[in-house]
Symmetry: C2
Subunit: 136 residues, 2 copies
Protein backbone atom coordinates (compact mmCIF):
# COMPACT_ATOMS: atom_id res chain seq x y z
CA UNK A 1 0.00 0.00 0.00
CA UNK A 2 1.32 3.43 -0.96
CA UNK A 3 0.21 6.97 -0.14
CA UNK A 4 -1.78 7.54 -3.33
CA UNK A 5 -3.63 4.31 -2.90
CA UNK A 6 -4.41 5.04 0.73
CA UNK A 7 -5.78 8.50 -0.08
CA UNK A 8 -7.95 7.09 -2.83
CA UNK A 9 -9.54 4.73 -0.34
CA UNK A 10 -10.02 7.51 2.21
CA UNK A 11 -11.56 9.88 -0.32
CA UNK A 12 -13.83 7.16 -1.68
CA UNK A 13 -15.17 6.75 1.81
CA UNK A 14 -15.74 10.42 2.45
CA UNK A 15 -12.82 11.10 4.75
CA UNK A 16 -11.27 14.55 4.69
CA UNK A 17 -7.66 15.27 3.85
CA UNK A 18 -5.74 16.64 6.81
CA UNK A 19 -2.04 17.26 7.23
CA UNK A 20 -1.92 15.00 10.24
CA UNK A 21 -3.53 12.11 8.44
CA UNK A 22 -1.11 12.60 5.62
CA UNK A 23 1.90 12.61 7.89
CA UNK A 24 0.72 9.47 9.68
CA UNK A 25 0.36 7.72 6.35
CA UNK A 26 3.76 8.95 5.16
CA UNK A 27 5.27 7.66 8.34
CA UNK A 28 3.86 4.19 7.79
CA UNK A 29 4.72 4.25 4.09
CA UNK A 30 8.38 4.84 4.95
CA UNK A 31 8.64 2.33 7.79
CA UNK A 32 8.24 -1.37 7.31
CA UNK A 33 8.21 -2.08 11.04
CA UNK A 34 5.25 -2.63 13.31
CA UNK A 35 4.63 0.51 15.39
CA UNK A 36 2.56 1.09 18.53
CA UNK A 37 0.23 4.05 19.09
CA UNK A 38 2.89 5.45 21.39
CA UNK A 39 5.62 5.06 18.77
CA UNK A 40 3.45 6.95 16.32
CA UNK A 41 2.58 9.73 18.77
CA UNK A 42 6.22 10.25 19.71
CA UNK A 43 7.23 10.79 16.10
CA UNK A 44 4.20 12.91 15.24
CA UNK A 45 4.68 15.21 18.21
CA UNK A 46 7.98 16.40 16.76
CA UNK A 47 5.97 18.20 14.08
CA UNK A 48 2.70 18.55 15.97
CA UNK A 49 3.51 18.96 19.67
CA UNK A 50 -0.16 19.14 20.60
CA UNK A 51 -1.12 15.92 18.83
CA UNK A 52 -3.36 13.90 21.13
CA UNK A 53 -3.90 10.22 21.71
CA UNK A 54 -7.45 10.53 20.53
CA UNK A 55 -6.28 11.58 17.08
CA UNK A 56 -3.77 8.75 16.94
CA UNK A 57 -6.15 6.01 17.99
CA UNK A 58 -9.06 7.31 15.92
CA UNK A 59 -7.00 7.42 12.76
CA UNK A 60 -5.42 4.04 13.42
CA UNK A 61 -8.91 2.57 13.80
CA UNK A 62 -10.04 4.26 10.59
CA UNK A 63 -7.06 3.03 8.62
CA UNK A 64 -7.42 -0.53 9.89
CA UNK A 65 -11.14 -0.61 9.13
CA UNK A 66 -10.43 0.53 5.57
CA UNK A 67 -7.68 -2.02 5.08
CA UNK A 68 -4.95 0.61 4.82
CA UNK A 69 -3.12 -0.63 7.91
CA UNK A 70 -2.81 -4.10 9.33
CA UNK A 71 -2.67 -4.82 13.03
CA UNK A 72 -1.24 -7.45 15.34
CA UNK A 73 -0.73 -7.92 19.03
CA UNK A 74 2.87 -8.21 20.22
CA UNK A 75 3.63 -8.69 23.93
CA UNK A 76 0.34 -7.26 25.01
CA UNK A 77 0.37 -4.16 22.83
CA UNK A 78 -1.35 -3.38 19.56
CA UNK A 79 1.07 -2.85 16.69
CA UNK A 80 0.34 -1.39 13.26
CA UNK A 81 1.99 -1.31 9.87
CA UNK A 82 1.08 -0.51 6.28
CA UNK A 83 -0.98 -3.22 4.60
CA UNK A 84 1.18 -5.40 2.36
CA UNK A 85 1.26 -4.72 -1.37
CA UNK A 86 1.10 -8.42 -2.15
CA UNK A 87 -2.34 -9.37 -3.35
CA UNK A 88 -2.26 -12.99 -2.26
CA UNK A 89 -2.85 -14.04 1.33
CA UNK A 90 0.33 -14.69 3.27
CA UNK A 91 1.94 -14.46 6.70
CA UNK A 92 4.89 -12.83 8.45
CA UNK A 93 8.10 -13.44 10.26
CA UNK A 94 8.59 -10.58 12.75
CA UNK A 95 11.98 -9.62 14.15
CA UNK A 96 11.66 -9.04 17.88
CA UNK A 97 14.69 -6.76 17.86
CA UNK A 98 14.18 -4.31 15.01
CA UNK A 99 10.53 -5.00 14.27
CA UNK A 100 11.07 -5.61 10.57
CA UNK A 101 9.07 -8.30 8.89
CA UNK A 102 9.60 -10.93 6.21
CA UNK A 103 6.84 -12.44 4.16
CA UNK A 104 6.05 -16.13 4.47
CA UNK A 105 4.32 -17.15 1.27
CA UNK A 106 2.52 -20.19 2.66
CA UNK A 107 -0.69 -20.33 4.66
CA UNK A 108 -1.33 -23.29 6.97
CA UNK A 109 -5.07 -23.05 6.38
CA UNK A 110 -4.53 -24.86 3.10
CA UNK A 111 -3.78 -27.99 5.12
CA UNK A 112 -6.25 -27.77 8.00
CA UNK A 113 -9.54 -26.68 6.49
CA UNK A 114 -10.57 -30.28 5.96
CA UNK A 115 -9.58 -31.20 9.53
CA UNK A 116 -12.39 -29.02 10.92
CA UNK A 117 -15.64 -30.28 9.48
CA UNK A 118 -18.74 -28.62 10.93
CA UNK A 119 -16.62 -25.83 12.31
CA UNK A 120 -17.22 -22.27 11.16
CA UNK A 121 -13.81 -20.70 10.59
CA UNK A 122 -13.80 -16.92 10.94
CA UNK A 123 -10.11 -16.11 10.79
CA UNK A 124 -6.67 -17.28 11.80
CA UNK A 125 -3.30 -16.04 12.98
CA UNK A 126 0.09 -17.39 11.98
CA UNK A 127 3.21 -15.46 12.90
CA UNK A 128 6.83 -16.42 13.39
CA UNK A 129 8.97 -14.52 15.88
CA UNK A 130 12.74 -14.32 16.22
CA UNK A 131 15.72 -12.37 14.96
CA UNK A 132 16.36 -11.30 11.39
CA UNK A 133 19.82 -11.80 9.83
CA UNK A 134 20.84 -8.20 10.58
CA UNK A 135 19.94 -8.46 14.26
CA UNK A 136 21.25 -11.95 14.90
Amino acid sequence: MNLTNAWNILKDNGYKETSKRNQILELFANDERYLTARDLLDVMQKDYPSMSYDTVYRNLATFVSLGILEETELSGERHFRMQCESDHHHHHFICMDCGKIKEIPVCPMDMVGAALPAYEIANHKFEIYGKCPECK
Copy 2:
Protein backbone atom coordinates in the same frame (compact mmCIF):
# COMPACT_ATOMS: atom_id res chain seq x y z
CA MET B 1 -2.11 -31.90 32.51
CA ASN B 2 -3.92 -33.16 35.62
CA LEU B 3 -3.91 -32.09 39.25
CA THR B 4 -1.42 -34.69 40.45
CA ASN B 5 0.98 -33.85 37.70
CA ALA B 6 0.70 -30.14 38.38
CA TRP B 7 1.37 -30.58 42.08
CA ASN B 8 4.38 -32.73 41.38
CA ILE B 9 5.86 -29.94 39.31
CA LEU B 10 5.04 -27.33 41.95
CA LYS B 11 6.54 -29.41 44.78
CA ASP B 12 9.64 -30.18 42.73
CA ASN B 13 10.18 -26.45 42.42
CA GLY B 14 9.69 -25.69 46.10
CA TYR B 15 6.24 -24.18 45.95
CA LYS B 16 3.98 -24.60 48.94
CA GLU B 17 0.63 -26.32 48.89
CA THR B 18 -2.22 -23.92 49.57
CA SER B 19 -5.93 -24.40 49.32
CA LYS B 20 -6.22 -21.49 46.91
CA ARG B 21 -3.60 -22.87 44.58
CA ASN B 22 -5.35 -26.18 44.67
CA GLN B 23 -8.72 -24.69 43.87
CA ILE B 24 -7.29 -22.68 40.97
CA LEU B 25 -5.76 -25.84 39.56
CA GLU B 26 -8.98 -27.81 40.07
CA LEU B 27 -10.86 -25.08 38.26
CA PHE B 28 -8.57 -25.29 35.25
CA ALA B 29 -8.53 -29.08 35.33
CA ASN B 30 -12.32 -29.13 35.01
CA ASP B 31 -12.65 -26.44 32.35
CA GLU B 32 -11.29 -26.81 28.87
CA ARG B 33 -11.94 -23.18 27.95
CA TYR B 34 -9.54 -20.27 27.98
CA LEU B 35 -10.18 -18.09 31.05
CA THR B 36 -9.11 -14.56 31.92
CA ALA B 37 -7.74 -13.45 35.28
CA ARG B 38 -11.10 -11.85 35.91
CA ASP B 39 -12.99 -15.05 35.07
CA LEU B 40 -10.80 -16.88 37.54
CA LEU B 41 -11.21 -14.29 40.29
CA ASP B 42 -14.99 -14.26 39.91
CA VAL B 43 -15.23 -18.01 40.43
CA MET B 44 -12.67 -18.10 43.22
CA GLN B 45 -14.35 -15.33 45.19
CA LYS B 46 -17.40 -17.53 45.69
CA ASP B 47 -15.31 -19.66 48.04
CA TYR B 48 -12.71 -17.04 49.02
CA PRO B 49 -14.41 -13.61 49.02
CA SER B 50 -11.18 -11.87 49.98
CA MET B 51 -9.14 -13.35 47.15
CA SER B 52 -7.07 -10.57 45.59
CA TYR B 53 -5.85 -9.87 42.09
CA ASP B 54 -2.29 -10.18 43.28
CA THR B 55 -2.86 -13.79 44.22
CA VAL B 56 -4.56 -14.54 40.91
CA TYR B 57 -1.92 -12.98 38.71
CA ARG B 58 0.99 -14.29 40.77
CA ASN B 59 -0.25 -17.85 40.57
CA LEU B 60 -1.08 -17.59 36.88
CA ALA B 61 2.46 -16.37 36.22
CA THR B 62 3.89 -19.20 38.31
CA PHE B 63 1.81 -21.84 36.56
CA VAL B 64 2.70 -20.53 33.10
CA SER B 65 6.41 -20.37 33.90
CA LEU B 66 6.30 -24.00 35.07
CA GLY B 67 4.41 -25.15 32.00
CA ILE B 68 1.29 -26.05 33.95
CA LEU B 69 -0.87 -23.51 32.15
CA GLU B 70 -0.67 -22.20 28.61
CA GLU B 71 -1.50 -18.65 27.67
CA THR B 72 -2.76 -16.76 24.66
CA GLU B 73 -4.00 -13.29 23.85
CA LEU B 74 -7.60 -13.02 22.68
CA SER B 75 -9.06 -9.62 21.82
CA GLY B 76 -6.56 -7.76 23.92
CA GLU B 77 -6.80 -9.88 27.04
CA ARG B 78 -4.59 -12.64 28.41
CA HIS B 79 -6.35 -15.98 28.53
CA PHE B 80 -5.22 -19.14 30.31
CA ARG B 81 -6.00 -22.82 30.21
CA MET B 82 -4.49 -26.10 31.41
CA GLN B 83 -1.53 -27.22 29.36
CA CYS B 84 -2.52 -29.95 26.89
CA GLU B 85 -1.89 -33.56 27.74
CA SER B 86 -0.69 -34.35 24.24
CA ASP B 87 3.06 -34.70 24.17
CA HIS B 88 3.57 -33.70 20.56
CA HIS B 89 3.56 -30.08 19.44
CA HIS B 90 0.25 -28.93 17.97
CA HIS B 91 -2.10 -25.97 17.64
CA HIS B 92 -5.67 -24.98 18.42
CA PHE B 93 -8.97 -23.95 16.99
CA ILE B 94 -10.67 -21.64 19.51
CA CYS B 95 -14.41 -21.09 19.57
CA MET B 96 -15.08 -17.37 20.00
CA ASP B 97 -18.48 -18.09 21.53
CA CYS B 98 -17.95 -20.74 24.20
CA GLY B 99 -14.15 -20.60 24.39
CA LYS B 100 -13.70 -24.33 23.90
CA ILE B 101 -10.76 -25.49 21.85
CA LYS B 102 -10.05 -28.24 19.33
CA GLU B 103 -6.61 -29.59 18.61
CA ILE B 104 -5.07 -29.10 15.20
CA PRO B 105 -2.48 -31.82 14.81
CA VAL B 106 -0.37 -30.08 12.17
CA CYS B 107 2.24 -27.38 12.65
CA PRO B 108 3.01 -24.98 9.79
CA MET B 109 6.63 -24.68 10.90
CA ASP B 110 7.29 -28.01 9.22
CA MET B 111 6.86 -26.23 5.90
CA VAL B 112 8.48 -22.86 6.48
CA GLY B 113 11.67 -23.54 8.37
CA ALA B 114 13.63 -23.82 5.14
CA ALA B 115 12.10 -20.59 3.81
CA LEU B 116 13.90 -18.57 6.49
CA PRO B 117 17.63 -19.22 6.10
CA ALA B 118 19.84 -17.04 8.31
CA TYR B 119 16.83 -16.19 10.46
CA GLU B 120 16.83 -17.14 14.13
CA ILE B 121 13.39 -18.50 14.93
CA ALA B 122 12.40 -18.14 18.57
CA ASN B 123 8.75 -19.15 18.52
CA HIS B 124 5.55 -19.00 16.55
CA LYS B 125 1.82 -18.66 16.93
CA PHE B 126 -0.85 -20.41 14.91
CA GLU B 127 -4.46 -20.26 16.00
CA ILE B 128 -7.76 -20.62 14.21
CA TYR B 129 -10.82 -18.70 15.41
CA GLY B 130 -14.49 -19.27 14.73
CA LYS B 131 -17.47 -21.21 16.02
CA CYS B 132 -17.52 -24.80 17.12
CA PRO B 133 -20.31 -27.11 15.92
CA GLU B 134 -22.30 -26.62 19.15
CA CYS B 135 -22.23 -22.83 18.86
CA LYS B 136 -22.81 -22.56 15.15
